[in-house]
Symmetry: C2
Subunit: 248 residues, 2 copies
DNA sequence: AGCTCCTATTTGTATAATGATTTATATTTT
DNA sequence: AAAATATAAATCATTATACAAATAGGAGCT
């Protein structure tokens, strides 16, 4: 059974998922989800081959990927073990997604993430106010418009996150952008299409974003930071009350 | 010549470096360093085998690791290519190190990193002031003591970064800690042992850190944030003047 | 030009064999 | 008995080879 395309058919969207991606996904969820304690062995390569029905090549490549994310450590004879949680690359997109998707502790993770956002996004807004160009302002405006015109909650969230990303990009600091797009990607998968907001709440929400935009466009850094702080505080409040809902 | 231990002897410190690590390092530096433009091919697996003198397995595992860090993308027939810079996981320890170590643009990266620190570390100090425990305070104190007693500049820097990490840990927010230890690890490798500070400057530097500590110990969040802000601003000033020097 | 089909190239997967390393066990020595 | 040493076994690391699958690019046709 070499190189066959067994098992569940892929949805065949362009490129088929490679085998090791499935293994990475499965093991990643187990590890970050907490099924495997720190220091626990994930089994020998041969056992994993049997378990997933793939060759050792695939298993090894999956292990290498997870090791690159700080989740595993392989040694001859002692096997491949889950590393201490402090070693995990929590700021890796996949690791973050697994963490946010875990049944246990995902709410905590979400609140922690908001706490982090509250510290760096206002500062980013302040920098953006000082450095924004017509082009970067245009992107923010486009995202804002998208929020108002969005037909689905999904679409709304998409533009919402795009707005924040645009601000981070406007700082011209690659690290802000990296951190922001990471968090956006993570949260995008978390926000289930739920609890449609009423038109009134919606309007207020967009108004908050517009306030941030206007402060940035005026070049008023302090006001931009302040507005962003307000926005995020309100978003976090909503999160606390109704776990997986909308809105950044 | 199967499974031999050819080439340059390792320094044999505990576990020998695996072959793919060397390939990852070499390719990572090339990619992040800018020798390979976005979209450029890194060559076929066979070519890389010849180039590094290893088997295809090793090359493939290295490519998988770099792909996990968002640097590469492989497709049948078209080969393995460098991804767009926006895809890179800049917050991966190795990627960050390569970026900070690059000949070109490393100074910019360092300043950007400080800009990011200035946004989240004061906030972390404020949180730490509210949540610190005797244990976490103890760690800060220990790091402070280490700074004063340090004999070498290296040791001083080590304790300096440990102090900041201790504060981030005291927030109880895993994301702050992840971000902080990432940056610490990155900067640790950057700070060359250079320009010994005079005893007088040294004293002032430690005093600044003590101010932060005291504010946290008192539970005065606002003061802690303020002191941290001052500390980082001063550190950045130093950075601007004399590129690779000490001190966070 | 535009379309279809073919082919060659390149990555993806499987398998088997050997080397290297480390843990555990057994043996010897003191 | 305790400690040091040698042996053995398990497991990852590396190599080699073969075939499958996907696709870019060209040949040929309309």
């Amino acid at each position: 059974m070499a190189g066959m395309n067994s098992g569940a058919d892929e949805t065949s969207l362009g490129t088929r998922e490679r085998f090791h991606d499935a293994v990475v996904q499965a093991l990643g969820e187990r590890i970050v989800g907490g099924s495997l304690a720190a220091g626990a062995s994930i089994g020998t390569e041969q056992e994993l081959c049997d378990q997933f029905g793939t060759s050792r090549t695939v298993i090894r490549e999956a292990i290498k990927i997870l090791s690159a994310k700080g989740l595993l450590d392989s040694r001859p004879r002692s096997g491949t073990r889950v590393t201490d949680h402090s070693e995990w690359h929590l700021l890796d997109p996949q690791v973050l997604a697994w963490r946010l998707g875990a049944i246990d502790g995902s709410e905590r993770a979400r609140l922690d993430l908001y706490e982090l956002r509250q510290s760096f996004e206002p500062a980013a807004a302040e920098l953006a106010a000082a450095r924004a160009t017509p082009q970067t302002l245009q992107k923010m405006k486009h995202a804002l418009l998208g929020m108002t015109l969005a037909s689905s909650a999904d679409e709304k969230i998409e533009h919402d996150l795009a707005f924040h990303t645009a601000i981070l990009a406007a700082t011209g600091n690659a690290f802000y952008l990296a951190l922001g797009s990471l968090i956006s990607a993570g949260l995008k998968h978390v926000f289930k299409v739920s609890l449609e907001q009423t038109a009134k709440e919606d309007e207020r929400w967009i108004r908050r974003h517009q306030n941030v935009y206007e402060a940035i466009a005026e070049g008023n850094g302090q006001a931009a930071a302040e507005q962003m702080k307000n926005l995020l505080r309100e978003a976090q409040e909503v999160q606390k009350l109704e776990p997986p809902k909308s809105g950044s």
